[in-house]
């Protein structure tokens, strides 16, 4: 039983790390600033969730798990806020997104 749990925990941590790695690759490969943010956002969404989830399984029912859950919660609230600050600052500074198509307002307006 313990062996299986450890295996699951390890798999979660490894797959989370792969997402973080892919985020790095994305930040390098994408064509312009805004799309690079998209690539990098892999790093702060599912990546840490999987890694911390794996660690929580590994730690079992203890105070450490509560702390890890708190870390995850704080991360999920603060990282999109930071990303928004970055993207909005770029927009206000006048950086235009490259090659975008604009869609009319939604949802179902004037339909």
């Amino acid at each position: 039983m313990n062996g299986i749990l450890e295996l699951v925990a390890g798999l979660l941590v490894i797959s989370g790390s792969l997402f973080v790695l892919a985020g790095g690759i994305g930040a390098l490969r994408m064509p312009d600033f805004y799309t690079r943010i998209h690539g990098a956002s892999l790093t702060d969404s599912l990546g840490p969730v999987l890694v911390l989830g794996g660690l929580m399984i590994y730690a079992g029912l203890s105070l450490i798990t509560v702390k890890l859950a708190a870390v995850m919660l704080f991360l999920l609230v603060t990282s999109p806020t930071a990303t928004y600050a970055l993207a909005n600052a770029a927009l206000l500074a006048g950086l235009k997104p490259e090659g975008v198509e604009r869609m009319p307002t939604g949802p179902e307006e004037g339909a």
């Binding site: 994408m30 805004y34 509560v66 999920l76 869609m103 939604g106 949802p107």
Partner: protein, 159 residues
Amino acid sequence: MRLMRPLLAVIALFAVWLLWGGLYKTPVLQLGIVSCVLVVWLTYRMALPDQQEHRLALLYRVPLYWLWLLWEMVVTNVQVLRLVLGPRSALSPTIVEVDASASSKFALTLLGNSITLTPGTLTINIDDTRLTAHCLTRAAAEDLRGGGMARRVAAVDPD
């Protein structure tokens, strides 16, 4: 009465400090109290807390929403993973505006953060009535325009 809320905030913060630290020596505790007061003072200096009534229903609605959001994150993460590793021609960046005129500040924040948190869509501007998002592909923009996420957020905090 006006001091009640900041005082409660300090007490709550200090409880968390005790729980996290696990080190109960006098200088550490003094430091804890000082930093809790500092944090609350800085927060009040930045902005007064919103006067909106805090509904208890949020306590269970928000976690339920997070569960849904977690699933959404899994789906979109895999999509963006493919885009990142695949050819550039698969990208079709699109800007879409989501109407959010009926939302409270809390709902607006939740929606903006949720959009950013799911890879492939990124909130770049928020004002009181609408929210502008940059999307990696047309399909993601269509999804956002469909308003599924906005409806769920509205259900969490109906005004």
